[in-house]
């Protein structure tokens, strides 16, 4: 099961991705969590320590013309073993790199190394039994520029608002053009009508509704992982249903 989580800013992508990764890992899956946001937030929702700055820089080298690339001889399996960091429940976290006070230049190598790694994931036989959960930055840019080539399924996280729905439509168009399965979840819903509203605005069936939940706001305020702070909260329960749905699909026909 290889997924990428996408949606508008603030929809709840990182909360869904981090919580889902933990749930799948607890159930026995080997989980690789990918954060390709240069202002990463997935470590927080995974309940992991923030990785050092930026670990992937060591995996990058410059070619003769000065262009950054993944170092020769570093395959995806080795890169993950060396450059991913520990998260609870055995989840491995790989960040693309992050913006530092030093500015843009120091992370360009890390970005290119990350891009090289994610484009080689499908070649690694040992990773086929792994579960991958990617957390994409807000909007549809990374889907358009092929920053989730590993994704068999794009999980669209959509609030019951027009802005969130239009973002989801744009992301869905791109995912469909890449023949990637789309799974839409409504987020921060306050009634059953909200999930139906998301269906109507996006034009996709809603598989799970993650309700508006004060436990999420509390966890975010404290900088804690939702699954640690409020494991029995309605939002975690809903993401467990999402995990069930994903497992059922990956076992199902096709």
């Amino acid at each position: 099961m290889w997924l990428a989580v996408a949606g508008k800013g603030g929809a709840g992508k990182s909360v869904v991705a981090g919580t889902l990764a933990r749930i799948l890992a607890r159930d026995g899956a080997r989980v690789l969590a990918l954060d390709s946001d240069m202002m990463p937030g997935l470590a927080l929702t995974l309940g992991a320590e923030e990785p050092p700055l930026p670990p992937l820089l060591e995996a990058a080298e410059q070619d003769e013309s000065g262009r950054w690339r993944l170092k020769r001889g570093i395959g995806p399996v080795r890169a993950i073993a060396r450059f991913s960091t520990d998260a609870p429940d055995g989840v491995r976290l790989l960040q693309c790199g992050k913006l530092t006070a030093a500015g843009r230049a120091p992370i360009m190598g890390a970005f290119h190394a990350y891009y090289g790694i994610i484009h080689r994931l499908t070649r690694a036989k040992t990773l086929r039994s792994w579960t991958i959960v990617g957390d994409l930055p807000a909007g549809q840019r990374q889907l358009a520029f092929d920053w989730a080539p590993y994704a068999e399924t794009v999980v669209l996280v959509v609030e019951p608002t027009w802005k969130s729905a239009l973002t989801a439509r744009r992301a869905a168009r791109i995912a469909r053009s890449r023949n990637v399965e789309i799974l839409t979840i409504a987020s921060q819903t306050r009634s059953r009508d909200d999930a139906r509203l998301v269906e109507r605005l996006v034009g996709e069936p809603v598989v799970v509704a993650v309700p508006h939940d004060e436990a999420v706001a509390r966890a975010e305020r404290e900088g804690a992982a939702l699954i640690d702070r409020a494991p029995r909260s309605p939002a975690v329960r809903a993401i467990e249903r999402l995990a069930d749905e994903l497992r059922a699909r990956s076992l199902g026909p096709g």
């Binding site: 800013g9 603030g10 930055p137 840019r141 802005k163």
Partner: protein, 103 residues
């Protein structure tokens, strides 16, 4: 007065920008609202509505497609590709990404 509004996703940048633009226009200023997000939503917060916001022309794509014969000035871009929003605000969308691009 030239203002750029920034922040993390979902904090309310677009709502603040759109409302600020309208408020300034209502107080008598000429306001140009620039949507520089490649996932442009400022039209909604300015009050254009979702359908009109979806159908706005993005300047970059229009220029790439050769809508203008000569390299236009900034004022020309605002004139040609801008849209009128309520209270006299002029809105320009810089760029949008609609489809998958080669990796």
């Amino acid at each position: 007065m030239k203002i750029a509004v920034a922040g993390k996703g979902g904090v309310g940048k677009t709502t603040v920008s759109g409302t600020l633009a309208r408020a300034l226009a209502q107080s008598g200023r000429r306001v140009l609202a620039v949507d520089a997000d490649i996932n442009p939503m400022l039209g909604i917060s300015l009050g254009l509505g979702p359908e009109d916001t979806e159908s706005l022309v993005a300047a970059r794509q229009a220029l790439d497609e050769g809508e203008l014969e000569h390299q236009p000035s900034a004022a020309g871009i605002v004139e040609t590709f801008g849209a009128d929003a309520p209270d006299g605000v002029r809105l320009v969308v810089v760029s949008r990404i609609e489809l998958a691009e080669p990796g």
